[in-house]
């Protein structure tokens, strides 16, 4: 551990991040055990002198963004991977001197994917830490509750950038003007999934969802998409946020068995969705089970394939179809994905030990859809900060964002923003599992046939 922290300090990019966090008593307390007295003294005094020069999250050498996300609990994989992806890019920017001479620092707080801590963390970020902007939040129930704070402090021009949620509240009035999104919305994801299921004759679509704002957002998207075909949902069941993989979801499966849907769309996080997939296939509900991008595909796949009690992991994964809002991280023909691949190897970002729990083991993924999204978020954020010029102010942020027109992030899609368009990307990608990893789903008819065959065999 000692070595780890010393290494961190010897790396100039990491040091910047630690420096930004060093003011927190937790970090100082942890650091006191692990660092030499001289190193700690130097780090604190640097931070204090830097802090005294901060104006709205900007100093001569740093620009501080605030993040509240799930770094602990059953959905911690989402927060950790999103952070790692972003850091892969920011570390590279910082190692080259930052943006207009300022290194990008993230001030992190853990909310465990719970709304109340998210609100408290955001208040701290706005009032105490006075960060430049909010960046990389995770989850609908958390972000939905945070949005009114942005309105409350609108005079201070705080904006939320690229939250890891496709819900509507930050895409429409009254809170839409306080956020910018990169990813496609849940409406687009659920709409696409339903559209494709209906096209292949699977018109009886059921919805399994988290009993909260996130689940409701996806549920509403499915309902809307079905209504376009004069169809209604065939069965719906819910689960409580925070449900672990070890939980039994047989009640929900039995409920669906009554209605006999042709396909199920899950609006949930990986632990519960993996448990549902397991219980559904075991219970004879052998139909395609789709998940949205938020699920954390790799985490889900890991759960259903790593379980020692599962003899044939593929029997679960063969029914899995996940929508994504970024292209496959294996598609190295895309320049942006290539860069992501290179930076993830070169910078090898680790989980943020300052906010994760030692009691919860977490093994990071070399590559994942979530970290790729974090990477693209960071790339676009860096572009915005660059466009803000050498004297960045919160007041100038919107103008800088709106100056982005047809920006190529290297994923085959361009990004544009204006007053009426505060979401960068619209494309939804579909993936299935082959040979233990997610691959693009290109032919829905063929996939539907294989689901039918798998069920009959």
């Amino acid at each position: 551990m000692n070595t780890k922290k010393t290494d961190r300090l010897s790396n100039p990019t990491r040091r910047t991040i630690v420096k930004g966090l060093a003011a927190s008593p937790l970090v100082l307390a942890l650091g006191a055990n692990k660092l030499g007295a001289q190193e700690l003294s130097q780090m604190s005094s640097n931070t204090q002198s830097s802090n005294s020069e901060f104006v709205n999250g900007v100093s001569d050498s740093q620009i501080v963004l605030g993040t509240s996300a799930a770094f602990t609990g059953p959905s911690r994989g989402l927060g950790i991977e999103l952070y790692r992806g972003a850091m892969a890019y920011f570390q590279d920017v910082n190692s080259k001197g930052g943006v207009h001479g300022r290194e990008i620092t993230l001030k992190l707080y853990d909310d465990g994917y719970q709304p109340d801590p998210a609100v408290n963390n955001t208040t701290k970020l706005m009032r105490d830490d006075k960060v430049f902007a909010l960046f990389g939040y995770v989850g609908t129930p958390t972000v939905t509750r945070v949005l009114p704070l942005l309105k409350k402090f609108q005079d201070e021009n705080f904006l939320l950038f690229f939250p890891f949620t496709g819900a509507q509240p930050q895409r429409q009035l009254p809170y839409g003007p306080f956020a910018f999104n990169l990813r496609a919305s849940y409406r687009q994801e659920t709409g696409g999934l339903v559209e494709n299921f209906v096209k292949v004759g699977r018109e009886k679509v059921g919805v399994f969802y988290q009993a909260d704002a996130y689940g409701r957002s996806g549920w509403a998207g499915c309902r809307e998409a079905l209504a376009k075909h004069n169809l209604k949902m065939v069965g719906e069941a819910t689960y409580t946020r925070g449900t672990q993989y070890t939980a039994s979801l047989k009640d929900q499966v039995e409920w669906f068995m009554r209605d006999k849907p042709d396909a199920i769309v899950c609006i949930g996080a990986y632990a519960a969705c993996a448990a549902f997939l397991r219980d559904a296939v075991d219970g004879g509900l052998q139909i395609p089970i789709a998940n949205l991008s938020f699920v954390g595909s790799e985490n889900l796949l890991k759960l259903i394939t790593d379980d020692d009690e599962i003899e044939h992991a593929e029997q679960y994964s063969q029914f899995l179809v996940n929508s994504q809002v970024v292209p496959s991280y294996n598609d190295l023909s895309l320049e942006g994905v290539q860069l992501y691949d290179e930076f993830m190897t070169k910078n090898a970002p680790s989980a943020p030990s300052e906010v994760t729990s030692d009691d919860e083991e977490y093994k990071t993924f070399d590559r994942s859809f979530v970290s790729l999204e974090g990477f693209l978020n960071a790339k676009l954020m860096t572009e915005i900060l660059t466009r803000l010029g050498p004297e960045p102010t919160r007041e100038g942020v919107e103008e800088a964002v709106f100056s982005i027109q047809d920006l190529d992030l290297g994923i085959g899609e361009t990004v544009s923003f204006n007053e009426d368009r505060r979401q960068g990307l619209d494309r939804v990608y579909y993936t299935i599992v082959e040979n233990g990893s997610f691959v693009p789903l290109r032919d829905w008819d063929s996939a539907s046939n294989s689901w039918t065959e798998a069920a009959s065999s």
Partner: protein, 244 residues
């Protein structure tokens, strides 16, 4: 063990009975009042919550922002106890947001939704009081709030416990005090009895407690002096009697 004088046994039983009747009547009246008050309060709270949701989220409903609506009802759910529920129906009585896990109970998804206040039994969940409040006079749908009658009963039992314990303790203290007071009243009669027996057996009565008895100004003292008189009349030569 506290001994009850035979003379006052029925008096004691009467006092206990009287206290019992008073305590029981008091408890029944209090419990009935608590039951009615808390049941009414639970209904009124539910109606207030339903009204707050219905009136405070009209814009959200009109914008069809169901995730924010869900977030609002999730926040309210904690006010309804461990097993309460909230669901919102649109103008076509279709449920557009709810808090049920693992699914919407069949009685609700298939049943007709009628009345401002109804009582329901949901399979596997219990008995509920369900109140409704219209959104935009009903054209925007309705908010429905379910409060578990088990939770209300527990609350009532808790309040009753708070009332019954003091009553029971008062009852017991009153009985003990009653017995003590009766025994206190019976003590001169017991002394008188012992004095009379001693006179009859011609035993020595020259004792300090007998002196005190003979000096009493009440009926016990009068009777003691009368027995003394009879004893002297019967045996004028009897010694050890200081005639009063």
């Amino acid at each position: 063990m506290m001994k009850i004088t035979r003379l006052f046994q029925w008096t004691i039983f009467g006092i206990i009975g009287l206290f019992g009747v008073i305590g029981f009547t008091n408890a029944v009246v209090t419990i009935t009042a608590i039951d009615q008050d808390l049941t009414r309060e639970a209904r009124e709270n539910s109606q207030d919550i339903a009204k707050a949701i219905a009136d405070g989220n009209v814009d959200i409903l009109l914008n069809n922002d169901l995730s924010t609506l869900q977030s609002r009802i999730d926040q309210m759910l904690s006010l309804l106890g461990s097993n309460g529920y909230i669901y919102i129906t649109d103008e076509n009585d279709e449920i557009i947001a709810h808090t049920f896990v693992p699914h919407i109970p069949e009685q609700i998804s298939t049943g007709e939704i009628t009345g401002d206040i109804i009582e329901r039994t949901l399979k596997g969940k219990g008995d509920f009081i369900e109140v409704s409040h219209p959104i935009l006079a009903g054209v925007g749908g309705n908010v429905h709030i379910g409060v578990d009658q088990g939770d209300v009963s527990l609350m009532i039992q808790g309040a009753m416990g708070n009332q019954v314990w003091p009553l029971a303790i008062t009852f017991l203290v009153a009985i003990v005090l009653g017995i003590l007071l009766v025994n206190l009243a019976a003590r001169p009669i017991q002394q008188l009895l012992h004095y009379a027996v001693a006179l009859a057996k011609k035993e020595s009565v020259d004792e300090p407690h007998n002196e005190k008895l003979l000096e009493r100004k009440d009926e016990a003292g009068d009777l003691a002096r009368l027995y003394q008189y009879f004893a002297l009349v019967a045996d004028p030569n009897r010694s050890g009697i200081d005639a009063k």
